[in-house]
């Protein structure tokens, strides 16, 4: 019969090989480490803290960028640029716990720049990259009606001015809170409400959305 220590070692024997294998499956992120601490550690130069911050928030921010830009490739570029900026300007973040909101504001700012460039490209006769309208981003199980509604919604949103479109998308596609939308847009709450009110009036004339809870 093996000793308890030996059994522990037997269980852990493959660890040396498994842990150093590059294709090992990614583990779950630790839930206990809060964002403010990670930001503090990242400010102190810990790359692993940056890595955790990235893995915690990147997927959500990529989703936002993709829905705003309608181009997976452009969204990936924006994600890269946003985290590059965020990590280089981490010292400017006044509330470390608000890392996600701060990075979202950077993403939205970069998206606006890209949309301005796209408008310029269209104006000079060059077609901007815009290869994934909302109905093509529908889940596999989405009904035909839902896809149809998404196509209509996509057309309606395109017709909106950029600030209104961004505000509406953040609020109703992403489900961000009003305060978060205002912070991401860099506008006051009153201005954001005005944007949303105009956008909602326009969208709801064409597309049916579930009642707000």
């Amino acid at each position: 019969m093996s000793s308890p220590r030996q059994s522990v070692e037997d269980e852990r024997a493959p660890a040396l090989v498994v842990r150093l294998r590059p294709d090992a499956p990614p583990p779950r992120l630790p839930e206990g480490v809060d964002t403010a601490e990670l930001v503090a550690r990242a400010r102190a130069g810990e790359r692993s803290a940056e890595s955790i911050l990235y893995r915690r928030y990147a997927a959500g921010l990529l989703e936002v960028a993709q829905h705003l830009l309608r181009s997976p490739a452009a969204a990936e570029d924006v994600l890269h640029d946003a985290f590059l900026l965020a990590f280089s300007r981490l010292a400017q973040l006044k509330q470390p716990a608000q890392f996600r909101a701060w990075t979202l504001a950077i993403v939205v700012s970069l998206v606006r720049k890209r949309l301005r460039r796209q408008r310029l490209l269209r104006w000079v006769g060059l077609e901007a990259v815009d290869d994934a309208p909302l109905h093509l981003q529908a889940r596999d199980g989405a009904s035909v009606e839902a896809r149809g509604e998404l196509a209509v919604l996509d057309g309606v949103l395109r017709a909106l001015p950029v600030p209104l479109r961004l505000a509406w998308t953040l609020r109703h596609v992403e489900g961000e809170k009003l305060e978060a939308v205002a912070a991401a847009m860099g506008k006051s709450l009153a201005t954001t409400k005005r944007y949303l009110s105009k956008a909602e009036a326009h969208v709801e004339r064409h597309v049916a959305l579930e009642e707000s809870p």
Binding site: R12, A15, P26, P30, A58, H80, S88, R139, H172, G175
Partner: protein
């Protein structure tokens, strides 16, 4: 007609995890080059191109230096070396010097550059009886293969671990981390060392130190999460009162 749910993203596909990973790799690659270096490289390239362009334009108009007696006189007075009129004899009798000491008296016209041919190196006047080095450049010696000491230590640690020699494995991992801290595997080795200290050797304080050092050195992405968890666990164990 069924209304769209709120938020609408419920009916949209989630983001591609591969895209998240690709963006991270790009981010790491971009950050390896400091932002101050990139403009410097761009300016250097621009300056080199501009200089080449200027040289191309100016060159035909420049006077031929070979006929300038003044230039030769100055060169000779400064004792500048001149290129030989012809390549030195290779093999056979006494080798001749490739360069001759310049002097004002010897200052004449600037000679033409040596003819193209095999590259010849002058190793100095040979002493009597000594083996003469080859004057003609031979094939370059094969570079020595670097010894993967960190890999060897890791393999030894693995062998020791499998043989049940935990202390020896821990010593080897500590040695790897201490002497090969710049190796990419040092962080992961420290993580493993910390696990041994925490779970097998019963040394939580040492495990905390190992985990913290692993964080400093950096570990593979897939180890970052467990490393944080293990660090927290080791800290709790180290702070707990002894039974």
């Amino acid at each position: 007609m069924s209304p769209l749910p709120r938020p609408v993203k419920q009916v949209l596909v989630p983001p591609d995890e591969a895209a998240v990973g690709r963006a991270w790799v790009r981010l790491e690659t971009t950050r390896r080059v400091p932002t101050t270096v990139r403009p410097a490289i761009a300016w250097a390239a621009f300056a080199a191109l501009a200089a080449a362009g200027v040289a191309l334009v100016v060159r035909p108009a420049a006077p031929a230096p070979a006929s300038s007696a003044a230039a030769s006189a100055v060169g000779g007075a400064l004792g500048l070396a001149r290129a030989p009129a012809s390549p030195p004899p290779v093999g056979g009798g006494e080798a001749a010097a490739l360069v001759s000491e310049g002097s004002a008296a010897a200052a004449g016209s600037v000679t033409a550059p040596p003819r193209a041919g095999p590259r010849v190196f002058w190793h100095g006047r040979p002493t009597a009886g000594a083996a003469r080095p080859s004057l003609v450049e031979g094939p370059a010696p094969a570079p020595e293969q670097p010894v993967d000491e960190a890999g060897a230590l890791l393999a030894s640690a693995d062998d020791a671990w499998r043989a049940g020699q935990t202390t020896r494995a821990a010593t080897l991992l500590a040695e790897l981390a201490a002497h090969h801290a710049d190796d990419a595997r040092a962080g992961a080795a420290l993580y493993l060392l910390g696990q041994m200290q925490l779970d097998v050797l019963g040394q939580p304080a040492e495990a905390v130190a190992s985990f913290q050092r692993a964080l400093q050195l950096g570990v593979p992405d897939d180890v970052v999460g467990p490393l944080w968890t293990a660090l927290e666990q080791a800290q709790r164990s180290a702070e707990a009162p002894a039974p």
